[in-house]
């Protein structure tokens, strides 16, 4: 999980180190857009915009969906962040349960020892 997050952060930094890509994120924050829309808005070739979107997609910042011949891009960060936060809360719940389970395991081990001694006596 730690490793996963670190990779994500690195990928995010790399993706955000480019002004065009930051612009694309801002644009997608306002509305979903197709790659063609984005290429026009940023005065780029389709191929160039595809590359930028690819980098953002790999970082999990953008998700794309192809409907017919049009590939639509939208912000993807929310879902990933939400999932990471949920998994961490879920992990904390299990950690709390397991701490109590540790106590029970200790208690049963002690009991077994005592019972074992009694049997030998």
């Amino acid at each position: 999980m730690v490793q996963y997050s670190q990779t994500r952060v690195d990928a995010s930094f790399a993706a955000l180190s480019d002004a065009t890509r930051r612009g694309v994120l801002e644009q997608l924050g306002r509305a979903d857009a197709s790659i063609t829309d984005l290429a026009e808005k940023f005065d780029m070739t389709l191929t160039g915009m595809k590359k930028h979107v690819g980098v953002l997609e790999q970082a999990g910042l953008v998700i794309t969906e192809k409907v017919g011949r049009v590939r639509t891009c939208k912000l993807g960060r929310c879902r990933l962040e939400e999932e990471a936060a949920w998994i961490e809360r879920y992990r904390q719940l299990w950690e709390l349960r397991f701490e109590e389970l540790d106590n029970i395991v200790e208690e049963l081990k002690r009991k077994e020892k005592v019972d074992g001694r009694k049997k030998r006596e």
């Binding site: 180190s17 389970l101 395991v105």
Partner: protein, 175 residues
């Protein structure tokens, strides 16, 4: 799945790990300092189970806990929470019970297509590795479970994004 198996021992001693291993699967792992028969007992004896299932710091309380732990047996847990006017019941069936090594149960309160939980107990010297594997009926079901437990992380996300941008501007400068 094989690669995942190899990475399971990353369950660092006494640290709980949770991983979404696929669109439909969630895996919780933890090592316990005791033999498998004792850890298994704590999962399968209702009087022990109800002592650890609900964390003490939670407002939730376990009103009743019926567990007929054998292959084909059923369970029924009833909880109450101050925020819920009615008690909440969770129930299902044990589809496999292999003493000290494996437990499989279904969650039936949501109808036919519920989550299937598999818990394995693997003894390693004086310790036991417990791996709990939740298989959701679909990717959507797991996504929904996550979404219903989430408190809308989006605004938070944008703040983080802003912070990231601030850091970048400071470190990298404008490219």
């Amino acid at each position: 799945m094989d690669a995942k198996k190899e990475s399971e021992p990353t369950a660092v001693k006494n640290r709980t790990t949770v991983e979404r291993t696929s669109e439909r699967e969630l895996v919780v792992a933890r090592i316990f300092n005791g033999p498998a028969r004792i850890v298994f007992e704590a999962w399968t004896k209702p009087e022990l189970f109800k002592r650890w299932w609900v964390p003490k710091s939670f407002a939730l309380s376990l009103l009743s806990c019926e567990m007929d732990v054998r292959t084909g047996g059923t369970y029924r847990l009833v909880f109450s929470h101050p925020a819920s006017p009615e008690p909440m019941a969770f129930f299902g069936r044990y589809s496999e019970v292999t003493p000290h090594s494996r437990l499989v149960w279904t969650n039936d309160e949501g109808g036919e297509s519920g989550t299937v939980t598999t818990v394995t107990f693997e003894e390693r010297g004086a310790e036991t590795l417990v791996v709990m594997h939740d298989l959701y009926p679909s990717e959507e079901a797991l996504d929904d479970a996550i979404a219903s437990g989430s408190t809308g992380g989006c605004s938070e996300t944008f703040e983080q994004l802003d912070e990231l941008l601030v850091t970048l501007d400071a470190n990298v400068g404008r490219s």
